[in-house]
């Protein structure tokens, strides 16, 4: 009989967070594409325009939440896909912590960039 792998864990909550972030991202990703390709055009982008948007706290906080949810949804999706392909044991642990580290780096770099546009200097680097 063929083996069957599943990323679903009984009692776990990652499946729920994957769906909650999906519901949020469906709306915000569509908004992001619409705003930056149809309302504004990608070839007209300047630092000043990005800065003007990011200086509004509503837009800034939405983009930070967008970054965090997209990172979780994407990286958790990659992890689930690998587990569904049969990833297990030490390799599974190594991949898990590599993805966690990559996520932290991505979020920190994204927040640093958003802060430059917003004129915020919270992080000391």
């Amino acid at each position: 009989m063929a083996e069957h792998y599943s990323s679903f864990e009984r009692g776990g909550r990652r499946w729920l967070w994957q769906r909650l972030t999906a519901a949020f991202l469906v709306v915000v990703l569509a908004f992001h594409f619409f705003l930056l390709h149809f309302v504004h055009h990608a070839d007209e982008v300047t630092f000043a325009m990005s800065s003007a948007r990011m200086e509004q706290w509503t837009y800034y906080s939405l983009m930070i939440l967008f970054l965090v949810t997209a990172t979780f949804h994407g990286v958790n999706g990659v992890y689930n896909a690998l587990v569904n392909q049969g990833l297990s044991g030490t390799k599974k642990t190594a991949v898990k912590w590599t993805l966690v580290a990559a996520s932290v780096l991505l979020v920190v770099q994204g927040v640093r960039t958003a802060n430059v546009w917003a004129g915020i200097s919270l992080l000391p680097f």
Partner: protein, 130 residues
């Protein structure tokens, strides 16, 4: 007596000729997901040029946007994102038990709507590059 059906490894891509609509939806969702997460890291890397200065950021974006290949890749990204969004909505409904009997039709509808939105968006995405 209970009976079991050996469906084999659902991840066995070598059996693609046997795949049903739901299986293709699963594969396309996985493929578009990989592309989107790869793009997310690339996107933040490109936007990070803002850390080196306003002029560097503006020049980087405007240089990239002047390239036809980048515009075509953006159309591809739109296709991938729109399908992932529409099929994602379909999956959320399937998870809630809504429209299970028509899950194959909703996959075809996701594909058709993706195609229509992408074709309609091409003029906007390539504007000014020629």
């Amino acid at each position: 007596m209970s009976q079991s059906y050996n469906r084999g490894l659902i991840e066995d891509f070598g059996r693609w000729r046997e795949f049903s609509a739901g299986m293709w939806a699963w594969i396309f969702h996985k493929f578009t997901g990989w592309v989107l997460v790869g793009y997310l890291f690339t996107h933040i890397a490109v936007l990070s040029t803002a850390l080196t200065g306003a002029a560097a950021y503006t020049e980087t974006i405007q240089t990239l946007e002047s390239l036809l290949v980048v515009r075509l890749l953006e159309v591809g990204l739109l296709a991938v994102a729109v399908f992932h969004i529409l099929n994602g909505l379909r999956l959320l409904l399937v998870d809630l038990g809504v429209g299970l009997h028509a899950q194959d039709k909703s996959f075809y509808a996701s594909l058709a709507l993706t195609g229509a939105i992408v074709v309609a968006s091409v003029p906007t995405f390539v504007a000014g590059v020629f």
